[in-house]
């Protein structure tokens, strides 16, 4: 139990995950953030990317957006778009990559959309490897 804290992932329709863990890496808006036990209280939000939960074994989750709160050694991740990487459909990834690429080439989208799309694309490429 040493150096462990609780991580909870909650989506609007269910509790996705609740477990003890040593380390969690989350894709924050301004970069990857690693969280260990006794982190100071924190509130932030997510960009598209992968959440990595490291305990005895490592598990990864894909998210598009979400809100994160850390307090009292309890990491709370609220997101409506969470997917365990194991359940990710490998065949659809290349379609998704193409879709995001097309979106990036569209000159009309705003900077924020472009930012999100580029991270989505990076994440999909990472998954695809």
């Amino acid at each position: 139990m040493l150096n462990k804290f609780t991580v909870e992932i909650i989506s609007p329709d269910q509790l996705v995950l609740k477990q003890e863990t040593n380390e969690v890496t989350i894709p924050c808006y301004e970069g990857q953030m690693g969280i260990l036990k006794d982190h100071i209280p924190l509130i932030t939000f997510l960009r598209p990317g992968l959440i990595t939960i490291k305990s005895e074994n490592e598990s990864k989750y894909y998210v598009e957006e979400g809100t994160v709160e850390f307090s009292n050694n309890n990491l709370l991740i609220l997101t409506s778009t969470v997917k365990n990487l194991l359940n990710f459909d490998q065949n659809s990834i290349s379609d998704l990559i193409q879709k995001e690429e097309a979106k990036l080439n569209d000159p009309k989208i705003s900077d924020k959309e472009r930012y999100i799309a580029s991270y989505k694309l990076d994440t999909f490429r990472e998954i695809n490897q």
């Binding site: 909650i10 609007p12 100071i40 209280p41 924190l42 709160e69 307090s71």
Partner: protein
């Protein structure tokens, strides 16, 4: 006195009605379990979201410049009422309870000379409200063809609310729905979602952390508040779905019981009048034989 044949037909029709209500009750019971489960599963999300917002609100010092979704426009003139009802009837007082509550509020709002806009979700509520307040209804949603309510539907409603808010179409937004307490009790509720109600939450939560924010409070709030609107709508939709099934189950249970009572009563009537006609015939035969 209805004829024997009429009574027989009547009994048959009541019996088949009973069969229908019984089947509906069983369907509702099965659906209720599922709806209740998802309502309960959905609760942590909205609760935690509220908590985060509360913690954020506490650490904002400059309330004047806080996002409008949180503190409101500072005015109190235009109201948006979102009435959430079911798409199907035959569920007891479910729909009319919500509409009744909504209508008393409408009356109050209009009585104070304020502007009223209505969004209805669910066709049954729309039917009831358009009779009196049809001209105030600006938009109606119906998820009749959807089997299960998902966050996507709630998001649709939430986005509509936010876009109306950004066009400064209203200052305050209230949603009406039934809160699922248990199978027999559902409480119609009016909840104000814009500006966010944080007063009653403040007392229960005495913990106070100094949070680190990244990027900063305002940006997080701006990201979080629109999400919170959708979450609240979603919570209301889930509560509503569970309430609807619960309400329908009790209504259909009562209907089945009433139909049983009615069948018993009609059967007694039927037997009595059959006996009466037999007795009558016997008397006729006997008196005919005596006169010979």
């Amino acid at each position: 006195m209805p004829s024997l044949d009429d009574l027989k037909k009547r009994i048959k029709s009541v019996k088949s009605t009973q069969k229908i209500t019984k089947a509906m009750k069983m369907v509702a019971a099965a659906k209720l379990r599922k709806a209740q489960e998802s309502a309960e599963k959905g609760r942590p999300y909205s609760q935690k979201m509220q908590n985060i917002i509360l913690n954020l609100t506490k650490s904002i010092n400059d309330l004047q410049n806080a996002p409008k979704l949180l503190v409101g426009t500072g005015e109190d003139k235009k109201y948006l009422c979102v009435v959430l009802t079911a798409d199907r009837g035959l569920c007891g007082g479910f729909n009319s309870n919500i509409c009744k509550l909504a209508k008393t509020n409408f009356k109050k709002i209009l009585g104070e000379g304020k502007e009223l806009n209505i969004i209805t979700v669910g066709s049954k509520g729309h039917d009831q409200i358009k009779r009196e307040y049809g001209k105030y209804v600006i938009k109606k949603f119906s998820f009749k063809d959807k089997k299960n309510i998902s966050f996507k539907e709630a998001d649709e409603v939430g986005k509509e609310i936010i876009s109306l808010f950004n066009q400064t179409k209203f200052d305050k937004c209230i949603i009406f729905y039934n809160n699922f307490k248990n199978v027999i009790t559902q409480i119609p509720q009016a909840q104000q979602i814009i500006p966010a109600e944080t007063k009653n939450l403040k007392e229960g939560n005495e913990q106070n952390f100094s949070y680190e924010f990244e990027p900063d409070e305002d940006e997080i709030l701006e990201d979080l508040l629109p999400k919170n609107i959708s979450t609240q709508v979603f919570k209301a939709l889930l509560e509503n779905a569970a309430s609807e099934q619960g309400s329908r189950m009790t209504a259909m249970d009562n209907a089945t019981r009433n139909a049983g009572d009615l069948v018993d009563k009609l059967t007694i009537d039927y037997n009595r009048s059959r006996q009466a006609s037999i007795t009558k015939e016997l008397i006729e035969i006997i008196s005919g034989a005596e006169s010979l």
